[in-house]
């Protein structure tokens, strides 16, 4: 059993929790490799996908995970959400919860929305990304991908590179990696850096070239192009020159090191084709792991206490 009721952040997860989720995900990865990629594990359970911010990739991944677990799912959000009609989120949640749903999967523009939902309902809550706060299933699928490659997480050196301040991925991935014993270095221009990297126990630098050769994992973040206005960086061109992962930089990675990216990639900005499509790029493995990891999270959260009854 997990030590948490809901999956809202990775900071609340113990190493045992993370290991259990990743181990369970391995079993689901096996299911996902079958001809019939579906098990009745969550038959009859109702899961609401409440996407208050547009998302294609994460939403598809969750939907597929729910279908493969045989759960009934309901999609809400965007233009179909009553939130836009002036109803408060709390009212929306209470209304949906009154229909006896078992779980909310929530993507939100604002930090803390999943916590607010958890306060307003007894249903379980999975955070599918809240503002600039956290995106725990992304971090878990990243951990899964890295563990599958190296067979361990402990002692690995990981650089997370790019637009750190706007990234909910960092908020979940950095603490989860620390919990599992990895050594994390944050890399980005000072205007994109985390205010207090000490909170994550991470080092932080703006000198990508000085650290890249030492890393087992180079994790490139998506630059939020829509947030470029306002001049935290002077131009795409300059960013690419200083922080982009191109062929030349990728060649300086140590043997066996891998490249990750949460997607969607801005090719020519933070990553070039030579790196994105390189043999050691795990970008598609990450996407593949996403379904299994989300299945594992939902399965473990919706399971009750093990009462030890054998049958």
């Amino acid at each position: 059993m997990l030590s948490v009721r809901n999956l809202i952040d990775t900071t609340s997860l113990t190493a045992d929790d993370i290991t259990q989720i990743l181990d369970t995900a391995q079993s689901f990865a096996e299911v996902n490799s079958r001809a019939i990629k579906k098990v009745p594990a969550l038959r009859g359970r109702t899961i609401v996908n409440l996407f208050l911010e547009p998302s294609t990739r994460t939403r598809s991944s969750f939907e597929l995970a729910e279908k493969r677990l045989s759960a009934d799912s309901l999609n809400m959000g965007g233009s179909t959400s009553s939130v836009v009609k002036g109803e408060s989120l709390v009212d929306t949640i209470k209304t949906i919860a009154a229909m006896n749903v078992d779980m909310f999967v929530c993507r939100a523009r604002f930090a803390g929305t999943p916590a607010l939902i958890a306060r307003s309902t007894d249903a379980r809550v999975i955070n599918a990304g809240d503002g600039k706060h956290q995106h725990p299933t992304q971090a878990l699928l990243d951990l899964y991908t890295i563990r599958e490659t190296f067979g361990r997480l402990d002692g690995l050196k990981v650089a997370i590179v790019g637009d750190l301040i706007h990234s909910r991925v960092v908020g979940s991935l950095a603490p989860a990696l620390k919990t599992m014993g990895a050594d994390v270095t944050l890399v980005g221009p000072p205007t994109y850096q985390i205010v207090d990297p000490g909170w994550y126990g991470c080092a932080q630098t703006s000198d990508f070239d000085s650290v890249i050769g030492d890393m087992d994992v180079v994790y490139m973040l998506r630059v939020q192009l829509e947030r470029m206005e306002g001049a935290a960086i002077p131009s795409r061109r300059e960013y690419n020159r200083l922080f982009g992962l191109d062929a030349e930089r990728a060649a300086r990675m140590k043997p066996g090191a891998i490249i990750c990216h949460p997607g969607p990639m801005n090719r020519g900005m933070e990553i070039e084709a030579e790196a994105a499509d390189a043999p050691n790029s795990k970008v598609l493995d990450q996407v593949n792991a996403g379904v299994a990891v989300r299945m594992a999270a939902m399965y473990l959260l919706l399971g009750g206490e093990d009462d030890g009854v054998s049958y």
């Binding site: 809202i8 952040d9 900071t11 609340s12 408060s88 989120l89 709390v90 939100a108 523009r109 604002f110 930090a111 803390g112 929305t113 916590a115 607010l116 306060r119 809240d130 503002g131 600039k132 706060h133 956290q134 909910r168 908020g171 985390i194 205010v195 207090d196 990297p197 000490g198 909170w199 994550y200």
Partner: protein, 430 residues
């Protein structure tokens, strides 16, 4: 009506009073102060043994939301909250709708409060039209109608040139300019203190510098213009240092602090994202709060204010990022200070009276209220032993967005006389 307040420990540093005496309230005035007074015919006798009697308390920073946001608070409900908290006088901030930037709004607020008859409202007028920071408001008109001071509270005047103009213009009247220090370009999108708190919660930070830089600017403008300057709701240790420096230099600079900045800090905002702790300026470091408590106790801080900021339930029961800034404060201010500073012997009763009655009256240019024969019968009677459970029932105003909901406190006002009218009787608003 006459009241004989028997056996209270009366404290009034202005009158050199710090002793157990009887006080006779005779109409609007104090008839007599002394030991063993005789009961005049028809007078109500109040056994006040074990309680403290002080000049009526003043909160020079509240939001009554009237006109314009009556769903949050009105002059009537705000007056009830103030009386419940032991206050006789409040200064209301001008960020109403319309903004209090003309004599007409000032007059409306004063008259409305008089009609309610629980506390006296002393409106602060806006410095600039619509609090837009662009053109001078009709400051003189508002002075004539009774504005007590001037402020663009809710935001800082962004342009240094405009601020200079405001202070120069106000300097012709005997009024204080009271400033909310915030540089928008540094605090834009900021929701919580920048640093660990903003990192932990994944939200943009509201850096201390965004406040301190404008405090520095306004102190410099005070030196230039000579206009008395009052720094609102200090939240950082360095901000306090800047005020201390200005005072040491002899500039007419004063400051205030709120209970939430004294007794809470950024660590109180947990991953439950408590929206009642979303305030502006934000809760800072524990070390900042400790420095502000030191500032209160060593006399560097002039006034204790609440920044009473009522909001409707739906404005707080929502996502932290879109919740409104502010906490109510009138009903909990005195209990918090009594519990945390007076009971712990860090703050003396005379000093409490300076912070909550004497100094704010002086800064609002109100007549002093003294506990002496012939003085105005504006008094607050405080029971330091009464247990206070801060729950819904404790509040008398319209809104419940208290940062201190659920707290257990000790000590509160039980009775209040505002110019002889008993507005709070045994803890109940009249």
């Amino acid at each position: 009506m006459a009241f004989l307040i028997r056996g209270a420990h009366a404290v009034d540093p202005q009158a050199g009073l710090d002793d157990v005496v009887d006080v006779l309230v005779d109409g609007e005035r104090i008839g007599e102060v002394g030991p063993g007074l005789e009961v005049p015919t028809g007078a109500t006798v109040i056994d006040a043994r074990g309680r403290y009697l002080v000049p009526g308390l003043v909160d020079m920073h509240v939001h009554f939301r009237d006109p314009g946001f009556e769903y949050k608070e009105t002059i009537e409900t705000g007056s009830r909250a103030a009386a419940k908290g032991g206050f006789t006088d409040v200064a209301t901030m001008p960020n109403t709708a319309p903004v209090c930037d003309t004599g007409a709004v000032v007059r409306y607020q004063i008259d409305s409060a008089e009609a309610v008859g629980l506390v006296r409202v002393h409106p602060m007028g806006a410095l600039t039209k619509g609090e837009k920071g662009e053109g001078l408001a009709e400051i003189g008109d508002m002075v004539v109608e009774g504005a007590a001071a001037f402020s663009d509270d809710g935001r800082g005047v962004q342009s240094a040139g405009m601020m200079r103009t405001c202070m120069e213009y106000v300097s012709q009247f005997d009024r204080v300019v009271s400033v909310h220090c915030q540089i928008d370009t540094l605090t834009e999108s900021g929701l919580v203190n920048e640093g660990r708190c903003s990192t932990r919660l994944g939200m943009f930070g509201w850096p201390a510098l965004g406040e301190e830089l404008e405090i520095e600017r306004d102190i410099d403008l005070c030196r230039l213009t000579g206009c008395p300057l009052h720094i609102q709701h200090l939240s950082t240790a360095r901000g306090l240092e800047l005020v201390r420096g200005a005072k040491a230099e002899g500039l007419p600079v004063t400051c205030e602090v709120t209970p939430h900045h004294l007794f809470l800090d950024e660590d109180d905002i947990t991953d439950a994202y408590e929206t009642n702790l979303k305030v502006n300026p934000p809760l800072r470091l524990a070390s900042d709060a400790a420095a502000l408590r030191d500032g209160i106790c060593d006399g560097s801080v002039d006034c204790l204010v609440t920044d009473h900021a009522p909001h409707a339930a739906h404005e707080k029961d929502c996502e932290f990022e879109i919740a409104s800034f502010g906490t109510v404060g009138l009903e909990t201010s005195l209990p918090l200070v009594l519990t945390n500073l007076v009971r712990t012997s860090r703050l003396s009763w005379p000093h409490l009276v300076e912070l909550m009655a004497v100094n704010p009256r002086r800064l609002l240019r109100l007549d002093a209220v003294r506990i002496e024969r012939g003085g105005e019968a504006t008094l607050t009677l405080i029971d330091p032993e009464v247990e206070v459970e801060v729950d819904d029932a404790w509040f008398a105003g319209k809104s419940r967005n208290s940062a201190f909901m659920g707290a257990h406190l000790k000590g509160a006002a039980t009775d209040v006389w505002c110019a002889g009218t008993r507005t709070l009787a045994d803890g109940t608003v009249a």
